[in-house]
């Protein structure tokens, strides 16, 4: 049985190593599916001022400003609810008219103009989230950071407070930096 065992094992290894399956590279799709889930979770830990919603059932708008890196990954959010508000996802390629949004995501492609965007949204009760480097330090509220193949986030509490948004302590506890 010893020899049998070894032969079987070797054959198995061979099949696996050589016969293998075509390798596929990691893709952005999975990265943004993960980021979409973060967006949804952030929304659950933020308290907007009452005037941000017309009523209890008014939709919570998650907007993508400029280029949309998510593909259809954000579709999974539609139909979900945060508190009593149904989530609605909008893509706003021109990045104008963001005022009714509750969450605005700014993709890396907007690196050139995100400062101008933030200036426009300044003091509005809109949660700004981005994966642009140093986003939170540059005046955004939540910056997504890639660390060792996982996603972490930094929070700029000062900016959020100025916008009258309350971020839950649970969220702050998990942030890598809070400023």
């Amino acid at each position: 049985m010893t020899t049998g065992a070894q032969i079987l094992l070797l054959v198995g290894l061979f099949v696996a190593l050589l016969g293998g399956v075509p390798s596929v590279q990691a893709n952005n799709e999975s990265e943004y599916r993960l980021k979409a889930a973060f967006l949804y979770n952030f929304a659950k830990f933020v308290e907007w001022p009452p005037e941000a919603f017309a009523n209890e059932e008014a939709p919570l708008l998650i907007c993508i400003a400029g280029a949309n890196p998510f593909g259809d990954a954000l579709d999974t959010l539609s139909g979900k609810t945060v508190a009593s508000h149904p989530v609605e996802v909008r893509h706003i390629p021109t990045a104008t008219g963001l005022e009714p949004c509750h969450v605005v995501f700014i993709g890396r492609a907007e690196q050139g103009r995100f400062q101008a965007l933030l200036a426009k949204l300044n003091h509005l009760p809109i949660l700004t989230v981005s994966d642009i480097d140093d986003f939170a330090r540059a005046g955004g509220m939540i910056g997504l950071v890639e660390a060792e193949q996982r996603i972490r986030f930094a929070v700029n509490l000062t900016v959020a407070r100025q916008a009258d948004l309350k971020l839950s302590s649970q969220l702050l506890k998990l942030a890598i930096t809070v400023q």
Binding site: L9, V21, T76
Partner: protein, 669 residues
């Protein structure tokens, strides 16, 4: 009445790989994951690359799974793995002495309980001697570095790429990149004291490592009068782990541990001259080390293979037996999608175990040295039948030197009724192959003075077949609101060919004086039906307050195949050693952002066969973090009574568990 009698349980087995597959209890399941169901904490643990893989919530697992998180461990105040397991609904945890526990799932508990597979980072830690776990010395981890403990109740054979009759406990330590920097803990209390240190850093451009060392002393528990028992325990241990990520698709891990411990124990041995079953105080000397290497290659978003090999060597020297056991194990596993709706996992494993068992008059083995081999293969297919219906089919095949060829198939069905409810059912066959003790042991239990004297002895049987289980399970999960979840499992298990002992008599001339032997020999003589219910409820009434409740109920009916034979009654052998009802209630309350108040209340039913009354146990913990890198905690355990008994083992003189208090500091920099 015997030493390794309930030892009769369990299989020297197997392949494993829960951990090394990276497929964890939370991950195995089916289909495209809905990441939005995960909490932020969970999301933070998802690797970007694996996000499209089967990262799945418990919710979509077609098995009775429960996960203890790092936070749960921290807030439980547990200082060892066995103590942390108390929180899992349906797991029976009973402490016998300072260094010994009886732990089981779905019945058959005992010091040598053997129907459970226990893994640390993919390395099996039960001893092939009796296929159970010496819980004390095997706790070779730094608790702060444990990522999670996944517990699967029920046969884990096929689905988990493992082989376990009544359950799988999978302890996973954190990746080294998550344990960078230094950590020091100091613990002091009236029952235990200890210190630990860990340091982690980068290793070249693509790697990280950590090293740790810890030492502790568990003071003696109590005897029935409340005086100190003879069971104090000192241990030192250390280890390392290194992980490399190469070219984005290869992950290599090398890790190892060693330990050296001296638990005291009080036990009965046999003698042909009076006194016939003297109680002796003994000091055990145990040492062990292991080295594990794992290579994981990502072939695509849903496809990977893993190659793992380890070597484990351990020694245990006690008055009745000096044992040394060396295990070499190599496993391979490959997972890939097939045709859009199927996901296939298959694997191969080989294990070689060599032992040296130098016995005594009380316990001896024939032969004293033995090398056994185990060869195994498994295949599993997860099929998405409909958008909300998944079928999992699989089987494990193995050949072992004790019972030959074994097959363990399973079929599982999961229906996601709506986004907030799922129902699953499973039918499985699992076997417990005979262990080295079942096959080759002789235990002299006691001598009875007289002319001639009489010796009561238990004999192994090298002709045993495996104990068999056919298991039926039905589960329901519901998450009606974000802050509320319910998990209910019902099971019905039919065991056949259970090992029991049959009596006979003979006469022996050696050792002198000549004596009558009343022999009891292992045989596949009994069968049993067990059924029960397990409930887990999690509720977060407030942002800063979490509650967990659990309940487990089990009923065991055992009988002998042939009532006319001279066999110990199956009811005596198998019933009354497991609590019929168990309750657990845990509360985690964040008083402020840096102050925790935690409570755990356990109620465990009586064990009539062992004369152990029911007990209620209360643990409290107060934790304070004045800074992010510094934590003080004060923990009171077993606060409701001075001392109580949790279990009685036949050979070991067990202890009672006293009320205890400790303080602990954790400092990171």
């Amino acid at each position: 009445m015997a030493k390794y009698q309930s030892a009769m349980n369990k299989l020297p087995q197997e392949l494993i790989l829960l951990a090394c597959m990276g497929i964890t209890a939370v991950q195995v399941g089916a289909a495209t994951p809905d990441l939005t169901r995960l909490s932020i904490e969970e999301l933070m643990n998802v690797e970007i690359f694996s996000a499209s893989k089967k990262t799945q919530k418990l919710f979509d697992t077609p098995a009775a799974a429960f996960v203890i998180s790092r936070e749960d461990i921290r807030r439980s105040g547990a200082t060892s793995i066995p103590e942390a397991l108390r929180m899992v609904p349906g797991v029976e945890v009973a402490q016998i002495s300072a260094s010994e526990w009886a732990i089981s799932i779905r019945g058959f508990n005992g010091r040598f309980a053997s129907k459970l597979l226990v893994l640390i980072d993919g390395r099996s830690v039960y001893t092939p001697l009796f296929s159970g776990v010496y819980w004390g010395p095997q706790d070779t981890v730094l608790l702060e570095d444990v990522e999670s403990i996944e517990v699967v109740r029920g046969p884990g054979g096929t689905l988990w790429g493992a082989n376990a009759v009544n359950g799988v406990i999978n302890i996973r330590t954190r990746r080294t990149r998550d344990t960078q920097g230094a950590l020091a803990t100091v613990l002091g209390g009236d029952q235990e004291s200890g210190a630990a240190f860990r340091y982690g850093d980068q290793l070249g451009e693509n790697g990280h490592y950590r090293v740790y060392a810890k030492g502790f002393r568990r003071d003696a528990l109590r005897d029935a009068e409340g005086d100190p028992a003879h069971d104090a325990w000192d241990q030192v241990q250390g280890g390392f782990r290194a992980d490399w990520t190469l070219s984005g698709r290869d992950e290599l891990t090398l890790q190892g541990d060693f330990y050296d411990g001296q638990p005291d124990q009080t036990l009965t041995i046999a003698s042909l001259t009076p006194p016939s079953a003297p109680i002796v105080e003994d000091s055990v000397d145990l040492r062990g080390s292991n080295l594990l290497f794992r290579w994981k290659r990502q072939l695509g978003a849903d496809s990977e293979w893993i190659l793992q090999t380890y070597y484990d060597s351990n020694e245990r020297h006690e008055i009745e037996l000096d044992q040394r056991i060396d295990t070499f194990d190599i496993e391979f596993q490959h997972r890939f999608p097939w045709g859009g709706r199927q996901d296939i996992t298959w694997g191969l494993g080989y294990r070689s175990v060599r032992d040296d068992l130098d016995g005594s008059f009380t316990v001896s083995f024939d032969p004293t040295n033995r090398r056994t081999e185990l060869l195994s293969a498994f295949v599993q297919d997860e099929i998405r039948l409909l958008d909300d219906l998944w079928l999992t089919l699989g089987s494990k095949f193995e050949h072992n030197d004790y019972s030959g060829f074994e097959i363990q198939p399973t079929a599982r069905l999961l229906w996601r009724a709506d986004p907030h409810q799922s129902v699953w059912g499973a039918v499985s066959r699992a076997v417990r192959t005979p262990s080295r003790s079942d096959s080759d042991i002789r235990i002299n239990v006691a001598g009875i003075p007289g002319t001639p004297p009489t010796l009561l002895s238990i004999f192994g049987n090298n002709d045993l077949a495996s104990e068999e289980l056919i298991s039926f399970e039905l589960g329901y999960r519901s998450e009606p609101r974000r802050d509320l979840s319910l998990d209910v499992t019902a099971f019905y298990n039919r065991y056949d060919q259970l090992i029991n002992v049959e009596g006979s008599a003979s006469f022996e001339l050696t050792p002198p004086p000549p004596h009558v032997v009343l022999a009891r020999t292992f045989g596949n003589l009994s069968e049993a039906d067990t059924y029960g219910l397990e409930v887990a409820l999690a509720w977060q009434p407030l942002d800063h307050w979490r509650l967990n409740a659990g309940y487990a109920w089990i009923n065991i009916d055992a009988r002998n195949d042939d009532p006319t034979r001279n066999v110990v009654r199956a009811a005596v052998q198998y019933e009354g050693k497991d609590p019929t009802h168990q309750f657990v209630l845990r509360s985690q309350w964040d008083l402020t952002r840096n102050l925790d108040l935690d409570l755990a209340l356990y109620h465990v039913d009586d064990l009539p066969a062992l004369n152990v009354p029911n007990y209620t146990r209360l643990d409290l913990r107060l934790g304070w973090r004045p800074r992010k890198d510094l934590e003080f905690s004060l923990v009171g355990q077993n606060l409701l009574d001075d001392h109580h008994r949790e279990f009685t083992s036949f050979d070991l003189v067990g202890s009672e568990i006293p009320r205890s208090v400790y303080g602990k500091v954790v400092w990171r920099w």
